[in-house]
Amino acid sequence: MKFLHLIWCNLKRKKTRTSLTLLSIVIAFMLFGLLAAIQQALVGGVALAGADRLIVRDKVSIINLLPQSYEARMDRIPGVDFSTHQTWFGGIYQDPKNFFMQNPVEPEKFLKIHPEILLPPDQEKAWLETRTGAIVGRRSAERFGWKIGDKVPIRSTIWRQPDDNATWTFDIVGIYDGKDKGTDTTPLFFRYDYFDEARQYGKGQVGWYTIRIKDPSQAAEVAKAVDAEFENSPNETKTEPEGAFIQGWARQIGNIVLIVSGILGTVFFTILLVTGNTMAQAVRERTGELGVLKAIGFTNMQVVVLVLAESCLLATLGGVIGLGLACVIVPLLAQPLSGLLPLFFLPVRALFIGLGFCIALGLVTGIFPAIQAMRLRVADALRRM
């Protein structure tokens, strides 16, 4: 570490040049953080899917409803712990831009099958006692300024009540939090019994089922068994693990991973060139000085390490600043983007990957100049001075 001073002073040599290279690196890592957040928002849900949950939907089309009577039949299938359903409500709160999900559910079963939804027991009790009650996630509650006790009107684009009224009013009885950072706390959930009784048509029909299975390793077998049960019924089913379902959904959005990787690849390649060029120039200019160091008695390996340490220090400094800036900016963007990308955050995993890239960048840009420095013949170098 006594060499740190020497390395640092060398970096300060051409302040303008070093600052500019540093700034390009900072920008590159800011982009990295931003793209990591985007990728997480679009396809990250897969990692959080329950390994012990299956999703059952209509085989022909996702917009077809399934009979509520299927629930009892599903519960009897071996391997199934229990099942519960949800339905797409398609509601709008004040402005279509305020998009978030609202689904009617069976409260007790719903909370049991989704342990990542954290609701205080007293609020759960209130929900079970209030027919028109609804629980909402912390994110939406904060966004719309809702508190427990508020009455919230939501207009459904699909479901109407008997008086042809498309606006449904719910009482907020609970605000839930998510167990993980990536748990979606934008949806609102209300009671199915209230929904089914009040809706004009489609009674006794639901959108999709979630099944909890007893043994996650049996997922594929149980899924097959469920579909077999309803084969040749008016509504045939398609059952798959929750992770696969989310992944299929994400894949429809597009090959996001490919696009993001492509962009990042180009960005890093460009930065590599810029930084590599800077390092190469820096070493070329210092041929004489490196010769002096060798004359004083620095070994070849020491000179190589010196050059690599310099490039790694530069890359890591830029990377840390860039990632730091990304950590600050991403939360600021989360609010305005919440309509389009409800879960916008920078996963910690990405920070570690980013740091890894820093080191890699430092090594790759430093290696050729370092080898050149190593091969330097002292006598030639001194003469060139």
Binding site: T21, S24, M30, L34, S61, N255, T270, V274
Partner: protein
């Protein structure tokens, strides 16, 4: 300072010296060119996604077309009409008429599961049941392979976008609709518009397959002219028999894609801006060192009498030329890699898949070149200024 002709010849000389010394600096110059090319390629590539999407959207709506949905529905999917209501709508004034009747097509819009060719995972593909007028209500519909389906028969035709993106839609294959197997008899194009993402069949045949009774979801009409829209709309919204909203086709498609377009555009530009800033730093770096390595040469020229502004202008020219080369290469790369790259995405608003192609438009390419020149300009001006204002004596001594 001598007159303008002298000034121009000074600039020419200095620029010439600069270009002659390029081979010595080829490493640094190449790095800058590649860097700028990379930025421009990514910029144009990312923006070609939204350009392609927008083009697909705008090719979908005819200016004299209109669509009628149930009031309160924000897309066809959640709208609903009975047969009687569709008749009332078709009788409204303002609709173009032929000997066969009004150009109005009552339509059913559902989604079916089909695997994507690229990943094998399911996608929600739109399946539309139409009436005969559907082909006159929209522009540019052409059967390019196979044939049109026969009315009343369990047959479908598929859009060119759909057949490219989803498996099992080639002419001759069958698709499963519920418990039915329907053959695909033809492929159609619609000028690149949204309809190409869809599968079409006779509405009367689709209704029983999806247990819809005699109901529809929308009515698409062709007006006698774009100006009759207001008349058409007013007559329906004031009619107590129906509860509708009337939208121009062009507006409808724009609305339907607004969220997706916004997302792609915002993200695209954010990424592009950040990359451009990074590239500017890179270019500054290169130009600074380019100038630094020629400090003595430039000082000598100034000592000989070449003017400051001539030095600045010629250094700027050099920077701009390098940037231009980078921009052209980047634009060419983007065009080759991305133009007409076919893909599909999901329209959040309607849950259904939308197929479209990336489009590297002339406008995008020009923008890309302009970005490159801006980078070259900003990257070149500070070093040039500095070089021209360095005290000559000190610069001459610099090793």
């Amino acid at each position: 300072m001598a007159g303008p002709v002298n000034w121009i010849s000074q600039i020419t000389s200095i620029t010439k010296f600069g270009l002659l010394s390029l081979p010595q600096r080829r490493g640094a110059v190449a790095a800058t060119i590649i860097g700028i090319a990379g930025v421009v390629a990514v910029l144009v590539g990312v923006l070609s996604i939204s350009a392609g999407f927008r083009q697909a959207m705008s090719a979908s709506g005819a200016p004299d077309g209109a669509i009628v949905l149930r009031s309160g529905a924000d897309s066809e999917m959640v709208s609903g009409f009975g047969r009687d209501e569709t008749r009332v709508i078709a009788d409204a004034p303002g609709i173009a008429r032929t000997t066969n009747g009004p150009l109005a097509s009552a339509e059913l819009y559902v989604i079916i599961n089909l695997p994507k060719r690229t990943t094998g995972t399911d996608a929600n593909v739109p399946l539309r049941g139409v009436e005969p007028a559907a082909f006159q209500v929209r522009d540019n519909l052409n059967i390019i392979r196979g044939r049109m389906f026969e009315w009343g028969k369990d047959e479908v035709i598929v859009g060119q976008g759909a057949v490219q993106e989803f498996a099992g839609l080639d002419v001759g294959s069958t698709i499963k609709v519920g418990r039915y197997q329907w053959p695909v008899v033809g492929v159609f194009t619609a000028n690149g518009g949204i309809a190409e993402s869809e599968i079409w069949t006779d509405a009367k045949v689709l209704q029983p397959a999806f247990n819809r009774g005699d109901s529809f979801q929308s009515v698409s009409v062709r007006l006698t002219s774009p100006s009759t829209f207001q008349q058409f709309k007013d007559s329906l919204t004031s009619n107590p028999q129906v509860s509708v909203q009337v939208i121009r086709q062009t507006d409808y498609y724009a609305q339907q894609s607004s969220r997706l377009t916004l997302l792609i555009t915002v993200l695209g530009y954010t990424i592009a801006v950040l990359m451009a800033i990074g590239a500017i730093f890179g270019a500054l770096n290169t130009m600074y060192s380019a100038v630094a390595s020629r400090t003595r040469e430039i000082a000598t020229l100034r000592a000989l009498g070449f003017g400051r502004s001539a030095v600045i202008v010629s250094l700027m020219l050099e920077s701009l030329m390098i940037a231009l080369v980078g921009g052209l290469i980047g634009g060419a790369l983007a065009y080759l890699a991305f133009n007409n790259f076919h893909t599909s995405t999901m329209n959040f608003q309607s849950f259904s898949a939308v197929t479209f192609a990336f489009k590297v438009t002339a406008e995008l390419l020009i923008n890309g070149i302009i970005w490159a020149l801006v980078i070259g300009l900003v990257g070149g001006i500070f070093p040039a200024w500095r070089a021209a204002h360095l005290p000559i004596a000190a610069a001459l001594r610099e090793l």
